[in-house]
Symmetry: D2
Subunit: 359 residues, 4 copies
């Protein structure tokens, strides 16, 4: 198991979906950063269940507590521990899935790997683990803000409905203006329609989150293996349900010729170095070049559906299984703060790592 | 800088494109594995320049030497060092690029990060560094072979020419049957046409490498951060020119509904557990499920083109630059052994890590 | 900050002495290990304040809670989180030390490093952090027990009173038979006298803990840097107040000649390989050889004394300071379970790491 | 195997004593440090065999080559590779030790761990590996010099002959004035006598190296596990033949009372913060306090002696073995540059790590 991410700004998450709590230890946050419970709570509130009728109607408060590392409202340089207690952890009945290998869940693989698993609601493999990431991400976001770096994620595709506008035409302030978190109201309405249709069909649907990071100074990233985009990719791919990552020109860029794809440098009037195009997505040779960083993250449809499915149990016998309870028909709206959090955690780590590059 | 990859099967690469040598230290390879220089050399020969008229015509031998860790043809458990001397490192003239920030190269970002750089042929940012990866990958491949695991990469797209056949319809033995390394002869011919056209236009073109890993037992992968596909993604994204990674259903899968996307389990006649479809790409919850693993890797067009381009120098002045010498019009054919190598390195690491999961 | 220790069996500790809680996340514990709260509590009870009149009379319960990673009494392979709430964290008055740099404490160095610190009772630098180590150590000890490995620490010196008997003449079952944790009753009585005298003089006294690890198979340790004794040394030196570490013949061994010091091998009647002497302390070339491992750990006298001392405050002004409250006159009796815990954590890590040595 | 040491200033060593070469990759050295082959060679010359008649008379040149990471005499921030070719690696006959488990060597433990080993002259377990450490240490030393930090090690004990003078009474410039590397000429003469006597008796003798680090700013060290002295301890204990480590008051300090041991702070005339005594050895709470750091390292007598010894072979049969060839009767004089190197590597790492402590 590797439940630790990051090099100098490093999180270790813990907790099962139906155990007593989920949480995170953040080690390496520099001393002197002001942080309040409210700031962390605000990030969690964007992720929490029950926030709209196109997400799971489970209502959980997800109240965060700071157990260590913050003294009189300021980080001390010691590990920061954030805990969110799980609600009603004993009230559910899991007998229908205790022995089942649910399709496209991790029941089978965890059993194959460990010989045992906490079967209650997915246990450790549940997306509830991302509560911990979002909590720690709020601190990373605060650190980045002090460096002038902003992270903005939004839903750019649901099913086949795609937001085709370039991000520069979007108003990031409108991301939270609708419940699907797409900053273009018209497209958002269509996306909501697709999600409602999936929900009404007792089904689920996938989509894409796009992310734009601005204000990044040139020089972040640690080649040859910890390239900035390689770490962003790993961080995104470590989120539940993610199937793909592309940055800059991405998969479409392979169709271009070098003469079309290359980003020419020029010196701006203020003396700063810029590129005329940005197919590079703000990263060259694995290191930020000062231009905007942007990338896309593909999420598969949620595996839990409220229709009967054929599968097997842990004795290898065929069974029919039907999802129960309150689940997300589409994970995308609630995935936005998770992508934000992981992007912030990656950037914060590279901000610290950069300090050791030159004497 | 992070020039180390892997947790228990761990490589550290070193060397600049025009320094004395490039090489790798592989730490953590278990004792008792038979390995010969010839096996490593065979892998390097698939990567070396000058192998066909659609790759760079530079002819380099890339002869590997084993400096440590192998005794009487068998690994001893101590670090294995492989070195490839660079040829003619002093014979070139780099005065035209010494002060230039070449478009979509890493000249500017290395300078921004370190305040200095080895400007000869890209220095450390050159794809020549992948010689070290391919050499180490040959040992990983040998280890995997003993575990019954095979890795097969091939070119599945060049520009807009795409191999649409499912991998199960391909004969991996034909990958090296043509110079573009696409196992379908007809598509390969078209791809070659596109590359030749790019070359004739003094331009370059991008593409996609697909990779299939077979024989992987259920249970490899280390959630929640070191998910098998997250590490594969990072490893691929750390390769020069890579812009995207997707596995299983990937970006296309976001359009599906859960009822279409879910992979139902069944028990095969031999008692083994399988899935009827494989949108999961052989990985669920970050852990292999015993089905084939497959993924795609997007490569941008090579940045060095033989046409004049406008850019700036390190004084911020506009300059016109034109690529000289012998360069690849398309990196894809030579990228295949690099993808093979990185995939093998990732898998070998997880094979070792798995040993610690159960008592 | 590095609050993580271990490679595959890895702990991250958190918490300040007077914050809400101290705790630990243990990542990498294999699945399938039976563990109860009682077993962990028993280890903590050996460490807790108020256990005798020669330790601090502060009475703290140190009740442990398992927050994650254990399901139905068995580890699941996911991170195990243990938390101990601090008692009465708001009831104390720290105004006398808020601005003081106490002699031989970490007040000054934390301030120099971070620019700020949690001044309440030492904050993160307090030995209260070892609660977390002892809790995690209980799980390591259980894992080792299943492998037939035992760890026994005891007090072998207090001030100038030294237990000179070879460990083979001691009955480890008697370690807890007296309050100083020296298994020889006569020497224990003298040690207690020395501690009482120090306490009565409003002073403190140092000492040595010795540790014997038995049942270790040959082959544990990871040269060249993570030698078994090097990791034991680091682990011990990371405990508060430790000033030295020696194993096997240690500092005395430097006086011997090679012909005296060398441990000759022989084959025992049962076919096992043994050494006639054990100056090596069970470790050769950094790897266990199957003989007993033994080492000594030096602890300085506790820095907090109930006498007035001259020092400075954070404005650089000379002040007089006098320890208040209830403190240990000698840390040795309560250090025994901490040495046990760290030794167990080191060994458990190497047990897991060894699994990857051979194919 | 773990052949990597360090966190941000990180070395990976490789090579067997009688393989083609030994060497090191140093990753993380900041860009912009001037370094020449001569500076590295000078450090190696202090370690090389054949330098005096009280060390091994084997004459090896140990010529270092820089393979990467230095361009036009300046580090570039990319990995620095240093290689020293082994001489005459095929000329020796090892048939007498091929199957032997030499007393107090690592033959048995390597075989137990890996099932195989390179038996030529100890292979990887040979102290020849420290060539790599000394080479990398020279670069660390250069980096520290630019920060105003100096490291001075010397022999303070051989057998029972002990240098009792406080280090402040010594002239470190005289360390290399005699062949035993004890800066006090009178004591050095006696030490040499003891070594010559051991050599004449076909025997060997142990000793202690002391080390003083000066000019360290307050604030280096990463609690709670990577305390400055804990890393120094691990680094020293990872050197061949080391049996113990103590810093500051060390093992003797346990006899003191807190009132004697505590180091009172005062503000010096220049406004700097100092302590009146330095039992802390310059480190409090695991972090440097700006005072001198000093520690002792115990080395056992060399295991290879030129007398017959009884032991067993790998078939478990009793054999008689006698050392052949040219060996050190005492490792201490040549251990001095190794202690210097490891101390410098530890400090350089903490210098870089400190950069990430405050925003």
């Amino acid at each position: 198991m590797s439940n630790t991410y990051g090099s100098l700004f490093r999180i270790t998450t813990f907790g099962e979906s139906h155990g007593p709590a989920v949480g995170v230890v953040l080690d390496g946050c520099p001393a002197g950063l002001e942080i309040t419970t409210d700031e962390i709570q605000a990030a969690l509130d964007r992720r929490r269940p029950g926030q709209s009728d196109i997400t799971t109607p489970r209502s959980e408060e997800d109240k965060v507590t700071i157990l260590s590392g913050v003294f009189e409202g300021v980080t001390t340089g010691t590990p920061i521990t954030l805990v969110v207690n799980n609600k009603d952890q004993h009230s559910h009945d899991y007998s229908h899935i205790q022995h089942a290998f649910r399709p496209s869940h991790a029941d089978y693989t965890y059993t194959a790997k460990y010989g045992t698993r906490d079967y209650r609601g997915g246990g450790r493999s549940s997306a509830r683990e991302t509560v911990a990431r979002v909590a720690a991400g709020a601190i990373a976001t605060k650190l980045l803000k002090e460096q002038g770096i902003s992270v903005n994620s939004y839903v750019s595709q649901v099913g086949t409905i795609k937001l085709r506008k370039h991000y520069s035409k979007l108003d990031f302030k409108k991301i939270d203006a609708n419940k699907v978190r797409c900053p273009d109201g018209k497209i958002a309405a269509r996306m909501i329609g697709v999600i409602e249709d999936a929900r009404n069909s007792l089904d689920t649907i996938g989509g894409v989150v796009s992310c734009v990071i601005q204000g990044v100074p040139a020089g972040l990233g640690e080649p040859v293996f910890d390239k900035l985009h390689a770490e962003l990719g790993k961080a995104m791919l470590s989120i539940n349900a993610v199937k793909g990552f592309e940055y800059g020109s991405g998969f479409e860029g392979v169709k271009l010729r070098g003469s079309q794809h290359n980003d020419e440098f020029y010196t701006d009037e203020d003396g700063s170095i810029k590129t005329r195009t940005n197919h590079s997505g703000g990263i060259q040779g694995g290191i930020s070049n000062g231009q905007d960083i942007y990338f896309n993250v593909a999420f598969k449809p949620v595996a839990t559906i409220l229709q009967p499915q054929t599968t097997i149990n842990d004795a290898g016998e065929e069974i029919t299984l039907q999802g129960k309870g309150r689940h997300d028909p589409c994970v995308l709206p609630r995935a936005v703060p998770i992508v934000d959090a992981m992007a912030a955690l990656v950037l914060a780590d590279f901000v610290l790592r950069r300090k050791a590059n030159k004497l």
